[in-house]
């Protein structure tokens, strides 16, 4: 579903990704972990081309990211959830969700609203459709952001530390939504520090350090029998 071939990324002189190779299969839930600054967000953002790799190739759902038309096509298939939600503050919850289906997919408004309302039920916010983002808690905002991404009916969802900006008591409500998505068979790539979640939901864990993919394996393998010294030392600090 996602093919990452020898991807390098430079920010000026800074060499952030140093030849990443990875394949993510359909319906797979892949968790990326690693120390701060190791390039996790950058890799994720390369998948939907918010960052352009300086070298290498990424093919998503058979679509190579070569020109602007393809990039937009890929972005229609790939939803993204950000650490800081990035809801549109001047639009209501419902408007946040129906905007992209209406402008990109040309979905008729009544149909878009129907889809949005169903998604709000799914993320447990059916009563909030007319609220504005600032009136919601962090956890609620993030659930709206997930609904907004799902409204495009993506085949893949990317999550960049979706719970890092949340108060502890709101983490669970967001993780629960992600869990149910995983159970429905969504292909997901998740950057997170929630190791319990990674263990429970992840099919595979990738450990990144200094722009390289150091080790990968099932959650069991990584969390209990890591082979690489760097993986072990990272895990010992956070577990």
């Amino acid at each position: 579903m996602i093919d990452i071939k020898n991807v390098h990324k430079h920010f000026g002189k800074l060499h952030v990704l140093k030849g990443i190779n990875a394949h993510i299969a359909e319906k797979e839930v892949v968790v990326i972990i690693g120390p701060s600054g190791s390039g996790k967000s950058t890799l994720l953002r390369c998948i939907n081309y918010l960052e352009e790799p300086t070298e290498g190739e990424i093919v998503v759902d058979g679509i190579p990211l070569t020109n602007q038309a393809n990039i937009n096509k890929v972005r229609e298939e790939v939803g993204m959830v950000f650490q800081r939600f990035n809801l549109f503050p001047h639009k209501s919850v419902l408007e946040n969700i129906i905007l992209a289906p209406m402008t990109v997919r040309k979905t008729p408004k009544s149909e878009a609203i129907k889809i949005a309302q169903d998604l709000l039920v799914k993320v447990g916010l059916a009563d909030k459709e007319h609220a504005y983002p600032e009136q919601l808690s962090g956890g609620q905002q993030q659930r709206v952001a997930i609904a907004r991404a799902l409204a495009m009916k993506p085949k893949i969802m990317l999550f960049d530390e979706p719970t890092s900006a949340l108060d502890p008591e709101m983490v669970k409500e967001v993780l629960d939504v992600m869990k149910s998505l995983a159970h429905e068979g969504m292909t997901m790539v998740i950057v997170t520090h929630e190791m319990g979640f990674a263990r429970e939901v992840g099919d595979r864990v990738l450990f990144m350090d200094e722009g390289r993919l150091v080790e990968e394996g099932s959650p069991e393998e990584i969390f209990t029998h890591a082979k690489e010294e760097r993986t072990k030392s990272f895990l010992s600090k956070i577990l």
């Binding site: 229609e76 939803g79 503050p89 001047h90 639009k91 209501s92 991404a149």
Partner: protein, 221 residues
């Protein structure tokens, strides 16, 4: 020195006609300037260097030369370009709009840049194009923030429009000059002219305050 109050009363209707013309030219220029400024402001943030460069040259040229010189340039250049004498009204509005556009462009650029980068990324990640995101997400938010500076630009334009009196266009200042030429009542007439400008700019600034407050309370739509 005797103050001829009666002169003020007699001249007032004529001055008001001039004030109406001033309002007209300001409204036209600011509206056109708003349109120009929006596109140029966006162009200055373009990724295409040639568009960016052209926009920068325009803004720098206009902001680096006096409006008075720009008015002369337009008034004397336009007839050569179109091949016939042109109406001072057209020349005045052209010069003022082009001038206003440059300042408004900088206001728009600042407003757009003040919007969190995550907004553009969220829009793009949903598959919307740069233009769609600009239109639906960035500009509506930026616009609210730039109401106060746009109001200032409106007021500045109203005052600066007095410069078009040099090409014989009969707005408020020119009317004043003409009346003085007939009556020699410099002090009375300039005082009246100043007073009328003050009333107009004061009204606009109240209006802008009101709009700003309304948008603050109703921080949506």
């Amino acid at each position: 020195m005797n103050f001829d109050f009666d002169l003020i009363v007699r001249s007032f209707p004529l001055l008001l006609v001039g004030a109406g013309v001033t309002v007209q030219i300001t409204a036209f220029s600011v509206s056109l300037g708003l349109l120009i400024g929006m596109f140029v402001g966006i162009a200055r943030l373009s990724n295409t260097w040639i568009i960016k460069a052209l926009a920068a040259v325009y803004v720098d040229f206009i902001r680096g030369t006096p409006l008075l010189v720009q008015i002369f340039l337009i008034y004397f250049a336009l007839p050569i370009i179109v091949g016939q004498r042109i109406d001072p009204f057209i020349a005045a509005i052209t010069a003022c709009s082009i001038n206003s556009g440059a300042y408004v462009a900088e206001i728009f650029r600042g407003g757009i840049q003040s919007i969190d980068k995550g907004q553009m990324e969220a829009g793009r990640s949903l598959g919307m194009t740069w233009g769609q995101t600009m239109r639906h997400i960035i500009l509506p938010q930026a616009f609210k923030r730039i109401i106060p500076p746009l109001g200032n630009e409106f007021i500045a334009m109203m005052k600066d429009s007095s410069l078009v009196s040099v090409i014989g266009f009969e707005e408020l200042t020119r009317r004043g000059q003409l009346i003085i030429a007939r009556t020699y009542g410099s002090f009375e007439i300039w005082l009246s002219v100043a007073f009328i400008y003050l009333i107009m700019t004061f009204t606009i600034s109240r209006l802008v305050d009101y709009l700003e407050r309304r948008y603050k309370i109703d921080d949506r739509h």
